[in-house]
Subunit: 242 residues, 2 copies
């Protein structure tokens, strides 16, 4: 696996500094000089293959990772030994925030497809914050945003039934531009298993399957294998949980 300060994105190899062009949230809005500071501590990692582990639960916490391309899931183990999928991460998302303030990672992180990451050693990053107040500000914003997101999912997700949770999931994927939208129809190619999705949504695989079937019978989607087609994506996007 390569380990350079070069990034591989969509077939091309590019420098970390061009992160800026991809609106990678951490770098976004920093001056060139500040950017260089961040570049100096960051390292490109990849390609991770599907199923490959990025870090494991209770490994010593060392770095945050920004997803440059590909997709990743994080999961923990429940009291009774089941795997609980806790999140999906796509381009621009930051892995490892839950470990801040701890010495250990809180999850397993696993690549879902061929994935490139940008590693940010956390101690260096925190030190850098002292010299770049704007960077400190961005990290804090990111943490606050994550808190709000979890809070919303937590509070409102509880009261949604299986179909509503699924709609919410599709909306999230659309927002992260994982669903390729054209006109008002769209296609989604799943990189994760349906079991993972079910777990993420707090459902059993069977319940998710039934929800998919119901949405299909309602004419909203067409579900075959790893691809889901949306006939009227706008109706899904219009669905509101709040």
């Amino acid at each position: 696996m390569a380990s350079t300060n070069q990034l591989h994105v969509a077939g091309a190899t590019v420098n970390c500094a061009t992160c800026k062009d991809q609106s990678c949230f951490i770098q976004d809005g920093l001056t060139d000089e500040q950017l260089q500071g961040v570049s100096q501590i960051s390292t490109s990692r990849g390609p991770y293959q599907p199923g490959e582990t990025i870090f494991q639960i209770e490994d010593p916490f060392k770095s945050l990772y920004v997803v440059q391309s590909g997709a990743t899931k994080i999961e923990t183990v429940s009291p009774d030994g089941c795997n609980l999928v806790d999140g999906f991460y796509f381009r621009g998302d930051v892995l490892g925030l839950e470990a801040i303030g701890s010495t250990l990672y809180q999850h397993d992180a696993v690549a879902l497809e061929e994935t490139w990451l940008c590693e940010l050693p956390y101690e260096h990053l925190e030190s850098l914050c002292t010299f770049i107040p704007r960077l400190q500000h961005k990290i804090l914003i990111m943490l606050g945003r994550k808190l709000r997101h979890m809070n919303k999912m937590f509070l409102h997700g509880r009261y949604l039934n299986a179909e509503e949770r699924l709609m919410l999931f599709f909306r999230m994927l659309c927002h992260k531009q994982v669903i390729r939208k054209k006109a008002n129809s769209a296609t989604l190619t799943l990189t994760m298993s349906k079991g993972d999705i079910a777990s993420y949504l707090g459902l059993r695989a069977e319940s998710l399957s039934r929800a998919l079937t119901r949405l299909q019978k309602a004419g909203l989607i067409h579900n075959h294998g790893k691809t889901i087609e949306f006939h009227d994506i706008d109706r899904i996007l219009a669905f509101s949980c709040d």
Copy 2:
């Protein structure tokens, strides 16, 4: 309502700097000089009376608040207009973290009993972080800890039944020293309504009531009105959700 840099705790009026003695997390471990910096930006607020609002959802976000004495709840409004209780805060807890990175508060915060708070203007606090790396570090730890806590509640709480959620709630109150423990029996005087507790636990008031009844029939607790007695608190504390 008073507004000074004096704190009222347990009937006495004390200076903000003595926060240190109460292991208020933000100040804890700072040098005297650094402490003074924090003291300079902080203001004591109170007493808030039961039911009194501290801040409201969508008010402009200005400050974090550390609970010095008393108790507070935060709540949001669900899609269908119900109040959802999202957290209870006791001595040493910090209110308003979810608003970091936003311009608006994300919750209503309401005092549950006579309550004193220490107000920390957020912009000042963030500026101060640049000069006191240790303070920055503490804030980040605090946010990470909050993330982990929510994560755990979110993931594992979903799979607990009513009784288990209730036990978890008691355990939390014990940990926050709200339940007065003596030998292996203990007493809890509720400052919040049972409806609030139910909402916090993701249950209906009826379901919570039934869970209380079942625990009482099992001889674990005695539930009358606003007080709950624990005959064998250790069995409750031994209950593990993970």
